[in-house]
């Protein structure tokens, strides 16, 4: 038998009350803004506040734990604790793969040749390169870049992400900004733009499976 249920996505306003008068003033002033929110009071909630919220016909909850974002490392540790490693790690990998394919653009070009000095490759769309980029070569793409061998030449990428291993000689420009080579570790690095900031993440060994 199926349970009859409905799922809602609601907005939550979470706060802790330190000064009751201030709290009531705030709600008087911003009533229209929060009247459709679920109010969550962390910590103590006195009977006068309860009365006040009831009089305003506001829906509220006291002392509950809301789901929060967390780091992947914490998630992995939790999963490890639950001893379900293999299955769940596969699931993480799958979700990463989904994330990757969501970010992929069109026209994937797959190349397996050394990009030698003096060559200027211009790629429309994504590039998967399974070979080296030698010093003096330039690759320009408007899509994403994945390069599985060492980059010593120049990369100009304006896609969603790059994934590469670079030598200190390389000159990498992502969305017009020169990437500091010293931040790249001696392994695959994921370089992406998040909130107008370039974030570099070394790709962990177990992730390489899907990167390749």
């Amino acid at each position: 038998m199926l349970l009859k249920s409905t799922q809602y996505s609601i907005k939550v306003f979470e706060t802790t009350i330190t000064d009751e008068i201030e709290f009531m003033d705030f709600f008087d002033n911003n009533y229209t803004l929060f009247k459709d929110h679920l109010i969550v009071i962390k910590g103590e909630c006195s009977s006068s506040i309860k009365e006040y919220l009831k009089s305003k016909e506001l829906t509220y909850l006291n002392d509950i734990t809301l789901p929060k974002g967390r780091t992947r490392k914490a998630l992995e540790e939790e999963l490890k604790a639950q001893n379900v490693d293999a299955a769940v790690l596969a699931q993480i990998a799958q979700s990463e793969l989904d994330k990757l394919s969501n970010q992929l653009q069109n026209n994937l070009t797959v190349l397996d040749e050394i990009v030698r000095s003096g060559r200027e490759l211009e790629i429309k769309g994504d590039l998967l390169l399974l070979n080296r980029v030698n010093s003096g070569a330039t690759i320009t793409t408007n899509g994403n870049v994945i390069i599985t061998k060492v980059v010593e030449g120049a990369i100009r990428c304006s896609g969603n992400f790059m994934m590469l291993t670079a030598s200190p000689k390389a000159n990498i420009i992502f969305h017009g900004v020169e990437v500091d080579n010293t931040l790249l570790e001696d392994r695959l690095n994921r370089v992406e733009l998040k909130n107008n900031e370039i974030i570099i993440t070394p790709v962990l060994k177990k992730e390489i499976n899907w990167a390749l």
């Binding site: 050394i114 030698r116 000095s117 080296r132 030698n134 010093s135 003096g136």
Partner: protein, 270 residues
């Protein structure tokens, strides 16, 4: 039908012409009929290194233009009767070459010789492109330093896009000679290791030639260093040409100095 090998480097001064002379003589010493052709039009050098400068009457440009026959222009080496030489023109410049003439000349040489070795000019201009255009294989000469490696990389890139064989959908065989290796500089990290060079260029290693002071004198005398059995560079060229002629010659590790071996040995007993 002979095999045409272009000796290339990209950068000048890495020992391309010296290598060509020694390769040609080494192949001839293996009993194969070999001709070395100087493609460095306007900057003829190979005749001096082979000790044949006073024998040049006609050059390859005159042969291509029909002013002389190939037979008239070919010079037989004093050092080995299997080795022949075709000189570059010293007065003209590289613009006199054109694809059809080069193709005809090479086709003619292929009929009479087992190996045709072409000494490419430095740089990547038209003279270089004509040298590699009809080659079956290329021997790339590099020194263990970054500028030489990058220029060689560029030269290989052009070879891979301009060669007639590649245009026909075939592969041009590419071999690497690492020249002027100084063992203790490799050990101390001042010179780039062979493995790293091979990783960058990604072509087959044909041989390593150590730095040898005797090479300069040999060039000045017009007696390629391969004739000197005691010379370490000469021995390296003997091994390399042996490989080219189909013998199985193991790679000698010349990147370990005698001091290095001694250190390793003493290290074993510590």
């Amino acid at each position: 039908m002979g095999i045409v090998i272009a000796v290339i480097s990209g950068k000048g001064g890495v020992g391309k012409t010296t290598a060509t002379a020694n390769l040609g003589l080494g192949i001839a010493m293996n009993g194969k009929k070999c001709v070395v052709v100087d493609f460095d039009i306007g900057q003829r050098n190979l005749d001096m290194i082979l000790g044949l400068e006073n024998r040049v009457v006609y050059d390859m440009v005159q042969v291509m233009d029909g002013e002389a026959s190939l037979k008239q222009a070919l010079i037989k080496s004093k050092a080995n009767e299997n080795l022949h030489f075709l000189a570059a023109s010293q007065s003209k410049d590289k613009s006199v070459l054109d694809s059809q003439k080069v193709e005809k000349l090479i086709a003619e040489l292929k009929k009479g010789f087992d190996f045709i070795i072409l000494d490419a000019p430095a740089g990547i201009e038209s003279g270089y492109e004509h040298t590699i255009e009809f080659a079956d294989a290329a021997i790339v000469i590099v020194n263990p330093e970054v500028s030489s490696i990058r220029d060689a990389d560029r030269a290989i890139g052009i070879l891979d896009s301009k060669s007639a064989k590649v245009k026909a959908g075939e592969d041009v065989a590419k071999y690497l000679i690492i020249n002027r290796i100084v063992a203790d500089m490799v050990e101390s990290g001042e010179m780039i290791k062979s493995d790293d060079i091979l990783e960058i260029l990604n072509i087959k290693l044909l041989g390593k030639v150590p730095e040898d002071r005797g090479v300069i004198d040999a060039s000045n005398q017009g007696k390629p260093v391969i004739l000197d059995k005691k010379s370490i560079a000469g021995q390296a060229y003997t091994r390399i040409t042996g490989r080219l002629c189909g013998q199985k010659v193991d790679m000698k590790d010349i990147e370990v100095s005698d001091a290095g071996i001694f250190k390793k040995l003493t290290g074993m007993f510590k």
